[in-house]
């Protein structure tokens, strides 16, 4: 197996061979550009081409807000299959996930990498739908497409078209392909513990009897005008009071000022506890480092080195850290070394197994790492 990431802006860059799989990350407008799509299809005519939009792309140890990053991979002993399902509304997320699972399901299915539109999706439900079909023995990771701080339009590139309302998944088949994952945030909870007293699905209305939107506006101050993007600065740590050790992070995706509601990238169960979180630069960077090391530790048993790394980080981290965001990618790249291709994007939601339980789920505000390799 070989892997290499290149930047489409640098036309001279070449892959060592004709790739079997091409994963493309780029700004929404570039991904919707017919010319680019056609050129990719022409150039990699034997490859499966899949991609998604984002405000910031990862290319090696650098970030690029404008360029298109292309990760090419060639497999020796692994079959690939692509599944695409429409996802026009977040209500259909579970069904779309289950349909993808059915499309890809096979005895020798080893792993799935999923890319979903980033706005009309309930990531938790999407993952739950997939899991009901494929179970927990198949590696599952991926992410929701992004659009920087705009939250206006996300795109999925699949089968030679760009879509605003689909979810695409690549199935990896055979005994030789290997996956390793890591996920970590580094956000710190602060302030009082609150209770979710008014919520439905992924929509939150009240915390401790107070409108949740008002709480966010108070904490954001002048930056409240930038909601929902600025809401990413304060994710919520939530947990079931019956299981206080299992905590998940939820990031804000959308607001409805008229309804006074906030929509998060995952379920907000009523009665659960919630606490605001904030990011300190160093802690977030340490989080990214933790994620990649967690993944690398799993590869020791492979007997071979990973070939490619897909780094999917949260747009909230990008917004908070500004120029210093690059440091978390540098930390990942330093841990991987020069021989592993590294590409990725800043997403509206990350999908990867939990570090402790290895059960796939939707993460928010994390750096998630997917390492792919192929054994002899």
């Amino acid at each position: 197996m070989w892997s290499k990431q290149i930047n489409a802006n640098r036309e001279s860059a070449m892959f060592p061979a004709a790739p079997d799989l091409v994963i493309v990350f780029g700004p929404t407008d570039r991904l919707a550009d017919r010319t680019l799509i056609d050129r990719l299809a022409h150039r990699y005519d034997t490859a499966m081409i899949v991609g998604c939009s984002s405000g910031t792309m990862v290319e090696g140890d650098r970030l690029d807000d404008d360029g298109v990053v292309i990760l090419g991979m060639g497999f020796d002993r692994t079959e690939l299959r692509l599944a695409v399902q429409p996802l026009p509304s977040s209500d259909l997320s579970f069904a779309a996930g289950a349909a993808l699972g059915k499309d890809l399901s096979a005895d020798d299915l080893s792993g799935i990498f999923v890319l979903s539109n980033g706005l009309n999706v309930n990531g938790s439900a999407l993952v739950a739908g997939l899991r009901t079909v494929i179970g927990d023995s198949v590696a599952l990771s991926g992410g929701l497409a992004g659009d920087g701080a705009r939250f206006a339009d996300t795109r999925i590139l699949a089968r030679g078209e760009h879509h605003a309302d689909v979810v695409a998944a690549i199935g990896f088949y055979g005994d030789h392909v290997r996956f390793a994952h890591g996920s970590a945030g580094g956000w710190q909870p602060f302030g009082p513990v609150r209770t979710i007293n008014d919520a439905a699905g992924s929509t939150l209305r009240g915390l401790d009897g107070e409108p949740a939107l008002a709480l966010y506006e108070r904490y954001l101050g002048e930056e409240a005008v930038d909601l929902p993007a600025s809401g990413l600065l304060y994710p919520l740590e939530i947990w079931d009071p019956a299981h206080p050790d299992v905590r998940v992070v939820r990031t804000l995706l959308a607001i409805d000022r008229d309804a006074g509601t906030l929509t998060f990238a995952g379920d907000m169960p009523q009665g659960w506890k919630a606490r605001l979180m904030r990011g300190m630069f160093d802690e977030l960077i340490n989080g990214a480092s933790t994620a990649v090391h967690h993944a690398l530790d799993q590869t020791i048993a492979w007997g071979t080195s990973p070939s490619a790394c897909l780094a999917i980080s949260c747009v909230g981290r990008r917004l908070l850290m500004g120029q210093r965001t690059e440091e978390e990618i540098a930390a990942v790249a330093a841990a991987l070394g020069p021989d592993i291709a590294l590409a990725g994007f800043y997403s509206y939601g990350e999908i990867a197994p939990q570090n402790q339980t290895a059960v796939p789920c939707l993460h928010n505000q994390t750096m998630t790492i997917t390492l792919i390799g192929e054994c002899a």
Binding site: F190, G191, G322, Q323, R324
Partner: protein
């Protein structure tokens, strides 16, 4: 002149590249031109952006910190208010609370805890031992006692969930319970249960003592007997005395229940002074007491005790200005303790008491097995009597009364007979007293009266009917109505009915008896005094009520001609009757000699075997006719 050469310029400093902050290094890298130089504008833009980002981040942090502080302040204020409420609630609890942390140091107490232990205050951080060292309540007695109470508290309470109870030197009863807390500390709950325990003790005492005299009751007697049996040594004997006050009922009826109650209390006090401390005096109920005597050495000792009791209770009582003289009868049973059956023991003593009373008042009697046989027979008799009344086994026989001068039949005395299905005809002296005791006398008496009136209505108008009344038939106060009813249903002329009472009927509740007798006499019925001479023979009875007839007891009549005393009595009675205008009748005339003496003494009429035994109703009219024929022949 010497010109100093100008100083030579300093040697050039080797320009090592500056050690840049990693952001600055990255910015320098990004601002590097293709020729290797630095694009200053680009670099400044990047640096400026970093400053701006840092400013924004600082402002966010400041804002977040400020808001968080405000929220925490509100939360703290709420928490303080909540603490105040908790404190108010805790301080007003009935139980004392003391909360300790995982290192067994005091965190807090409520006011009630301080009150119970008599402490002014409690300093957090103290150990239990230190906290209680100042408690005056635990220090009333000795230091040892203080230490023991604290150690017992801390030791016993450590068995979480187990409640211990302490009796304090100041007399209070305190319960202590320890609850383990999740943080490794514990919460002690202390309650003053003195009142509750006292109330329970009072209840327990009431359950085992007689409320009036405060003597042990049957329950406690039973417990003591059980205890005695458990601790029995071979050959150890005990005695049970059942005693019953003589004439107590009279006191109650005449002086009222408050005096009766006070008398029982006084009796209880006298009894207690007569026994040893381990003997048990019990009030069984009413005027019945028992004395359980332990470790009996001899029958003689018990006899001595019985005599002392009877003597003590025969001494007059002064109660509420009344001089009261009663007495006591005692039944005794003695058994070996290891063969004791409490029920049998009380029953046997009761049987012995029954015998003692039968032998006259102021007696004691020891149980013998034949008493039990007698009692069994009596119980059977009771059952049979109740059945007899239901199945109409009673009949009435009539003994003629004859005018001494003319030998004309002037009346018959009605005498109840029991036609027992197996034992044949049973005379009244064998069952009337039992009927009286078991409350059947009213029904049996009414049956005899009604039947006698009905039968008498068939006789010639000159023939009267005499019916005996039991003293107990006056108890209900309805006797006049019963008599009136018998007369009405039989149609008998009231002047032909004669009711016989004995002097004993006049003894109890005299006023009520006299009133009923007057009411009956008002109906036209005649009243005679029966068995005169055997009992009190009180002339005041004859004076108090206008009797129509006096009947001279057969015991005197039987001795006429052989005993001069009897003749004197008969003569006195007939003389008295003659002068008071009261008729006299002699009972038990069996011989012509006796009859002749009665003629001489001017007795009005006579009855007895000389004339006839009691006969069934069918034989009465023929007898009247026969006597009439004899009378006519003689005339």
């Amino acid at each position: 002149m010497c010109v100093k050469p100008p100083p030579s310029p300093p040697p050039p400093i080797a320009s090592a590249p500056p050690v840049l902050h990693r952001i600055a290094a990255r910015q320098a890298e990004r601002a590097r031109r293709p020729d290797g130089g630095i694009d200053t504008d680009r670099l400044l833009a990047l640096v400026s952006a970093t400053y701006a980002e840092t400013d924004v981040d600082r402002r966010r942090s400041d804002r977040a910190n400020r808001l968080m502080a405000q929220e925490l302040e509100v939360a703290l204020a709420e928490s303080a208010l909540q603490n105040l409420r908790f404190k108010a609630a805790l301080d007003n609890m009935n139980q004392g609370l003391a909360l300790f942390d995982a290192s067994r140091r005091l965190v807090l107490t409520n006011q009630r805890f301080l009150d119970i232990y008599g402490l002014d205050h409690a300093v957090p951080g103290l150990t239990l031992d230190q906290l209680l060292s100042n408690s005056p309540c635990l220090s009333v007695s000795t230091a040892d006692e203080h230490r023991r109470l604290v150690e017992e508290y801390d030791g016993a309470a450590s068995a979480y969930g187990a409640r211990i109870e302490q009796r304090w030197p100041d007399g209070r009863t305190i319960t202590i319970e320890r609850t383990r807390l999740v943080d490794g500390g514990f919460l002690d709950t202390v309650a003053d249960v003195t009142e509750a325990r006292n109330a329970s003790a009072r209840l327990a005492h009431l359950a085992r003592h007689d409320a009036l005299t405060d003597l042990p009751n049957r329950t406690m007697l039973r417990e003591r007997l059980d205890e005695m049996m458990r601790n029995a040594r071979s050959g150890d004997r005990c005695a049970m005395l059942c005693l019953d006050l003589d004439r107590f009922k009279l006191v109650n009826d005449t002086l009222g229940h408050p005096v009766g109650d006070a008398l029982l209390v006084a009796v209880a006090s006298r009894l207690v002074t007569l026994v040893r401390h381990h003997d048990v005096v019990t009030r069984l109920g009413g005027d019945e007491f028992s004395v359980l005597v332990q470790h009996v050495t001899s029958d003689h000792a018990i006899e001595h005790l019985c005599r002392r009791i009877i003597e003590a209770l025969t001494q007059p009582f002064e109660i509420g200005g009344h001089h009261i003289q009663i007495g006591a009868s005692i039944g005794v049973t003695m058994v070996e303790v290891d063969a004791l059956d409490p029920n049998v023991m009380l029953r046997d003593a009761d049987l012995a008491l029954y015998s003692a009373k039968a032998g006259g008042r102021g007696n004691y009697c020891f149980y013998t097995p034949d008493m039990h046989v007698f009692a069994t027979r009596r119980r059977e008799l009771e059952i049979e009597l109740r059945r007899a009344l239901k199945s109409e086994e009673f009949e009435v026989h009539y003994q003629p009364q004859v005018a001494i001068g003319t030998h004309a039949v002037v009346g018959f005395e009605a005498l109840a007979r029991w036609y027992h299905p197996e034992r044949g005809i049973i005379p009244p002296n064998e069952f009337i007293s039992v009927c009286e005791e078991i409350g059947l006398i009213g029904a049996v008496g009414e049956f005899v009266l009604t039947r006698a009136c009905r039968d008498a209505a068939c006789w010639p108008d000159s023939v009267k009917i005499a019916v005996n009344l039991s003293a107990l038939q006056f108890k209900s106060g309805t006797l006049p109505a019963v008599v009136a009813h018998a007369l009405r249903v039989s149609g008998l002329d009231p002047r032909r009915l004669e009711l016989e009472i004995t002097e004993s009927a006049m003894l109890d509740d005299t006023a009520s008896v006299l009133k009923q007798l007057r009411d009956i006499k008002q109906l036209g019925v005649l009243i005679s005094l029966d068995d005169f001479g055997t009992g009190y023979s009180s002339l005041s009875h004859i004076r108090n009520f206008p009797f129509d007839r006096v009947k001279i007891d057969q015991s005197f009549v039987r001795d006429l001609g052989t005993n001069s005393d009897s003749l004197a009595i008969v003569r006195a009675v007939t003389g008295l009757c003659g002068s008071l205008g009261i008729l006299s009748t002699a009972e038990g005339v069996e011989t012509l000699d006796q009859l002749n003496i009665l003629v001489a003494e001017k007795c009005d009429s006579a009855q007895g075997y000389y004339f006839s035994r009691p006969v069934p109703f069918v034989e009465t009219l023929p007898f009247v006719s026969r006597m009439h024929a004899l009378h006519s022949q003689a005339a």
